[in-house]
Amino acid sequence: MPDPVNDSKDRQDKPGLGAELIIPVASVLFSLYYFSTITDVPWTAQVSAFFVGSILGVLSLVFIVRSILRVRRGEATFGLGRLLEPVAYVPKRIVLFLLTIGYIFVIQWLGFTITTFLFLSSAMLLLGEGKKKGLIFCLSLVLSFGGYLLFVVAFETRFPEGPFELMVKGLF
């Protein structure tokens, strides 16, 4: 009769290979897509990509077969394993990822200094679980303004411009 407690413990002990299959599967899919974009070019322009893509396909296939055999032998599972571990950090990581997308999306309108200040303070508050608000506010302010002085003023780097950069342009 199956023992649910031991079965669950077994699953936890065994490595989850599902996550390890993401890169090989993505590689094969990308190679197939790439091949579809070179069907009309002369063969001299195809040969190099077909050479590399075929090797990648074979290697990925060997890895997938190896993983299936390990699971069938009971040595591993198709779980996501280490990818999501430690699970307690998954929500933080997802919010940080969303904040990062927001940072890139907003920077074109708000410019480097304001967006960096907003991103740094919100991301630090998230990771610091709302503690040391004063320190985080000051640090974000110093870093974003210091970054502006170093990169935009001193190095004359092309950073995205926003209201702050346009406002103080006359000063520097």
Binding site: A19, E20, I23, P24, A26, S27, F30, S31, Y33, Y34, T37, I38, V41, P42, W43, T44, A45, V47, S48, A49, V52, G53, L56, L59, S60, V62, F63, R66, G81, R82, L83, P86, Y89, K92, R93, L96, F97, T100, Y103, I104, I107, Q108, F112, T116, F119, L120, A123, M124, L127, G128, I136, L139, L143, G147, F151, F155, T157, R158, F159, P160
Partner: protein, 510 residues
């Protein structure tokens, strides 16, 4: 072309009087080298109005000092936070970062500084002596020879992926396929671009570097309060000046290792287009191949840090050789120097050594003086730089994400490149968490376009005849060397296994 030592000595003394140009260039070079997206080439372009207004000799000294120091600067974040400042330092974290995690950041920085300076100094002198012969290297290397050199590069993937070769090869070939994205150089047909115009000009290297190393690292480190291991935190509490001295002594004790790995850098640097990244990985591979303890590589092994740092500084002087002797720049920074010299009406080539020796020898003496000043100014800073590793990840992760993402925007000014860096960040994060090495993917991204370009050119010249790959003595010799280099590690490993009982080392490498 003979080397005039009298002029060289006079030039050396003269260069010292320009310390006021060299010192600010060192500070600037260390900063731009340490920030991903800011290369020496970009900085020199930004500062062109200043450089062009200076006397050609002073302008050249400024550019060379900035170039050499930026190479050293790129290794600092690679060691401290696993983020190479440039692609040339991409092999540095392989052993530098594990040392940091063990609380040996100060030693690692000292080793990196000593290796960079000694490697750079030695190759500068060697370049000066062997200039007439080194400059000929580029003449013997055509598309077919470069194909074999690129395959040499690809074979490095297996070295990086010591723990699971299959995973390493998948990561490397995946990187190669990513490197193939874009329009091909001959027919200009867009391939694998997903319809993005921004990818027609190939995958830009800085967003790939930022994403694979910095973004993925930032998302990974938030699991702990510190990037250091428990033992590392204890070691950092006790760290004093003795750690810097220890690192310096450890590097000096391995002087022979510095010598031969920096020569690898010099020779690869002479080949136009090969670059510091390839030199660093080749040196790492050779160092591991001929090591008595290859299993220690990737765990914070000193030789594994010395090899890439010596080699990428060896490249610095190597890239100047073809520029000054035959007028062909060996890299992007050397190309900008050529533009500045042309602006001042200076024609580079053999005549330069007769007509304006101060300009011909100047870059090498400036480089030697820069390295001399750098070791005195930078080495004492190792202790303070290493303190960054005790900063909590609560603050460090957001800083890494924001500043490196903006860094990926700088080279082309496309917002798209920031999104691209994020995509590479996701790929890098999955790779790190599932045991695929991000360095193997990066090697692929670097080598992919180079391999394809040479392949296309060779086949076009031979009108599609694959026999061109075995058409010269040089290329056939390179094929033999490639096969030998692939079999030597296997043979040596077999001998080692026979010689010692079973056992292993803890592997903390990423």
């Amino acid at each position: 072309m003979e080397v005039d030592w009298g002029i060289f000595a006079e030039q050396f003394a003269r260069t010292f009087t320009f310390w006021w140009v060299i010192l600010p260039a060192i500070v600037l070079g260390l900063i731009v080298g340490a920030i991903p997206g800011f290369s020496a080439a970009n900085t020199i372009i930004i500062l062109l109005p200043l450089t062009l207004s200076l006397e050609p000799e002073i302008g050249l000294i400024f550019m060379v000092a900035l170039y050499a120091s930026s190479r050293m600067g790129a290794g600092i974040p690679a060691i401290l936070v696993n983020i190479p400042g440039t692609a040339g330092a991409a092999a540095t974290p392989l052993d530098g970062y594990p040392m940091t995690r063990q609380g040996r950041a100060q030693q690692a920085l000292a080793i990196s500084f000593v290796s960079s300076v000694l490697g750079g100094l030695l190759t500068t002198i060697l370049a000066l002596i062997a200039m007439p012969w080194l400059s000929q290297v580029a003449y013997y290397l055509h598309s077919v020879e470069m194909i074999v050199i690129m395959i040499f590069g690809i074979s490095l993937i297996a070295t990086i992926a010591a723990r699971d070769t299959l995973k390493g090869l998948i990561a490397g070939f995946f990187g190669l396929m990513i490197g193939y994205i874009g329009a091909d150089v001959v027919y200009e047909t867009p391939r694998g671009t997903f319809g993005f115009l921004e990818l027609y000009d190939k995958v830009p290297l800085i967003p790939a570097l930022v994403g694979l190393f910095a973004i993925s690292e930032a998302f990974a480190v938030i699991e702990g309060q510190s990037i250091l291991t428990k033992r590392g935190q204890e070691a950092m509490q006790k760290a004093g000046w003795d750690a810097t001295i220890e690192g310096t002594v450890e590097a000096l004790r391995r002087w022979w290792h510095i010598v031969w790995t920096s020569i690898i850098g010099l020779v690869i640097g002479v080949v136009p287009g090969a670059g510091a990244a390839i030199a660093a990985f080749v040196a790492y591979q050779q160092s591991k191949t001929f090591s008595k303890t290859p299993e220690k590589y990737g765990t914070g092994h000193i030789e594994g840090l010395i090899a890439p740092e010596s080699a990428n500084n060896g490249v610095t002087s190597g890239t100047l050789v073809p520029l000054l002797v035959i007028g062909v720049p060996g890299g992007a920074t050397a190309a900008i120097m050529a533009v500045v010299l042309q602006y001042h009406g200076v024609t580079v080539g053999p005549d330069l050594f007769q007509n304006q020796p101060e300009l011909a020898y100047g870059p090498f003496t400036a480089m030697a003086v820069t390295y001399g000043i750098m070791i005195l100014t930078v080495l004492p800073l190792a202790r303070y730089m290493s303190r960054i590793t005790v900063v909590s990840t609560v603050y460090m992760a957001p800083i890494i994400i924001s500043f490196t993402l903006v860094g990926s925007f700088v080279p082309r000014g496309y917002l798209f490149d920031m999104y691209l860096a994020l995509v590479f960040g996701v790929i890098g994060y999955i790779a790190r968490k599932t045991g695929y090495h991000v360095a193997a993917i990066l090697i692929g991204v670097i080598l992919g376009p180079l391999l394809e370009n040479y392949f296309l050119r060779a086949l076009r010249i031979s009108q599609g005849d694959l026999g061109v790959l075995f058409s010269s003595t040089v290329v056939n010799t390179l094929w033999v060397l490639l096969i030998v280099s692939l079999f030597v590690p296997w043979y040596l490993e077999l001998r080692r296994r026979k010689a010692r009982p079973a056992g292993g080392y803890d592997d903390e490498g990423c």
